[in-house]
């Protein structure tokens, strides 16, 4: 469904040159959930931005459903691929009601039947019709994120890119949103690419996980490997240890990668 080959992104030039993504390759089958995990600066969000088209100075190949995508995206692309952003407080226009926010993509793509679609998608994310005419500041963080998911669904995409979708949420709300995302994926047979710094979230949500560091793929693993610790790379092992909490002996062994 999604094929990324030798993706490279370089920002700036000369002294401030930053090779943010180095030769990243991976493939995601239809209906699969793929995770990109890494610390800040690992390039994981940059990869997502390239796939979505928000970033256009990349080199390499990106194929969606067998067809390569160019640097400029065609309208039909947005009916195949959508994105959910990290910050529930920043991803909704503060002056538009939820109704306006959800109707806009329908208007842009001229697919009609707006009211029915809006009601349906709100129901799907667990929000009732009473939320339609509220403004974002009248919703809680979890509710805003649900609206963000609804907005991603309204164009009926096949692939959803998720950029740290629950990092800004309280733990109890995170559980609700993660459950919702899993439910939707099964119901609509969606393909997910999930970016997170949290190994537990990625392990819970994803079949295959790519560990990234400094723009490169360190290794590609699956949950079973995380569970029984059969990891090839030291960096991944260190990341796993760090996710288990404060262990003084282990911390003193940490290396800089």
């Amino acid at each position: 469904m999604l094929n990324v080959q030798k993706l490279n992104v370089v920002f700036g030039h000369g002294a401030t040159k930053n090779h943010a993504v180095k030769d990243v390759s991976f493939a995601v089958a239809r209906g699969e959930s793929f995770g990109l995990v890494g610390e800040s600066g690992s390039g994981k969000s940059t990869v997502l931005n390239c796939i979505s088209g928000l970033l256009s100075n990349w080199d390499g190949t990106i194929e969606v459903d067998g067809k390569p995508v160019s640097h400029k995206r065609h309208m039909s692309f947005y009916r195949k691929v959508q994105m959910v952003f990290q910050d529930p407080y920043g991803s909704l226009h503060p002056r538009h009601t939820i109704d306006q926010t959800l109707k806009e993509p329908i208007a842009i793509h001229r697919i009609g039947d707006a009211n029915r679609r809006v009601n349906q998608v709100l129901r799907e994310v667990g929000l009732g019709p009473q939320f339609r005419f509220r403004y974002p500041h009248q919703l809680s963080g979890g509710q805003r994120q649900r609206v963000a998911v609804a907005r991603a669904l309204i164009l009926e995409p096949e692939i959803i890119l998720l950029d740290e979708p629950t990092s800004a949420l309280d733990v109890s709300i995170q559980a609700e949103v993660l459950n919702l995302l899993q439910e939707i994926r099964t119901e609509r047979n969606l393909t997910y690419v999930l970016v997170s710094h949290d190994l537990a979230v990625v392990s819970h949500m994803c079949d295959t996980i790519s560990v990234m560091n400094h723009g490169q793929t360190v290794e590609i693993i699956n949950r079973v490997q995380l569970q029984n610790g059969s990891l090839k790379e030291q960096y991944t092992r260190q990341l796993l240890t760090a996710s288990k909490g404060y262990d003084r002996a282990a911390i003193d062994q940490f290396q800089d990668f």
Partner: protein, 305 residues
């Protein structure tokens, strides 16, 4: 009481947490903004003065006791009296009537300048800020050129080229007023441009026109409304300045600036000739300042949580 119930009903409708329609949601927001505005007493004073100005201009024929341009040399330079509340000027015209009729000219200038300058400014600013690159550089340098001229001097040059008259004065003032609005709009756009909600709408296939008009401009409006209101005072003064120099409205037009200019020679003995129109200019400028401050409190998006 039925009346009281209705009021609670209306308030409840406006303040509900679960509005049923876009209209209800927008009305609710407007109502809350209105409430907050009215908490600021000075701003309300400003608003009242401006409403008075508008009413005076609208009902000028009914309010003014005398014809503003009819001369009566027999009763020239009369002090304040029951007959002539603000006295008469050097041509025997009733100053009060002239001020009342002059309010129309003042309003005319303000409205036209705002209508011309603000849209031009916001358009240039948002386009410049959104596209960046060459477009930004070119538009900003053009803006810089206009900004480099002091308002009055450019207006003077323009009027000198096209001839005096209030329409030309308005055009001249508009040309010098739009650059700051462009700057403000551009600054706001640069901040907004990188927000997640803009990225989200780009990802839904929105083109630049939709993004600029529906997403960026509404967010710039608040700071722009405040800036335009605060600028009103300056615009009035510039128009008065042009009138003072004889380049704005031409005699016998009761333009406040021209009246102040004419009153100069009589300032020592017949102080009312210059003081009355001068005070009118001052009061209206102050009112716009107060209103602008009040609007800023309500509309400032930074305090929008």
């Amino acid at each position: 009481m039925t009346n009281r119930q209705n009021l609670t009903g209306a308030r409840a409708w406006l303040l509900t947490d679960t509005p049923d329609s876009a209209f209800q949601a927008a009305s609710g927001r407007f109502y809350l903004g209105l409430l907050e505005f009215f908490r600021n007493r000075l701003a309300v004073v400003g608003l009242l003065i401006i409403i008075t100005l508008v009413l005076t201009a609208t009902f000028a024929p009914q309010i003014a006791p005398y014809d503003p341009i009819a001369t009566d040399l027999a009763s020239r330079l009369q002090p304040l009296s029951a007959d002539h509340w603000f006295g008469t000027d050097e041509m025997g015209r009733d100053i009060f009537s002239r001020i009342v009729w002059g309010s129309r000219l003042t309003l005319y200038v303000i409205l036209l300048v705002a209508i011309i300058a603000a849209p031009v400014g916001i358009l240039v600013g948002t386009v410049s800020g959104y596209f960046g690159g060459v477009i930004d550089t070119v538009l900003m340098r053009i803006t810089d050129i206009f900004l480099a001229f002091p308002k009055l001097i450019l207006a003077l040059a323009f009027v000198a080229a096209l001839g005096p008259g209030i329409e030309n004065a308005i055009i001249a003032i508009s040309i010098t007023s739009w650059p700051p609005y462009a700057r403000i709009a551009r600054a706001e756009t640069l901040t907004i441009r990188n927000s997640d909600f803009i990225r989200a709408i780009r990802l839904q296939g929105a083109g630049p026109i939709r993004i600029i008009t529906k997403h960026i401009m509404p967010l710039c409006l608040s700071s722009l409304i405040v800036r335009v209101t605060l600028d009103m005072a300056g615009i009035i003064l510039t128009a008065a300045g042009l009138g003072f120099l004889g380049l704005g409205a031409q005699p016998p037009s009761p333009e406040w600036g021209a009246m102040t200019s004419a009153g100069r020679s009589y300032i020592l003995d017949q102080w009312w000739l210059i003081t009355m129109p001068g005070t009118a200019i001052f009061v209206v400028s102050l009112a716009f300042n107060l209103l602008g401050d009040g609007l800023r409190e309500v509309l400032d998006p930074k305090s929008d949580s």
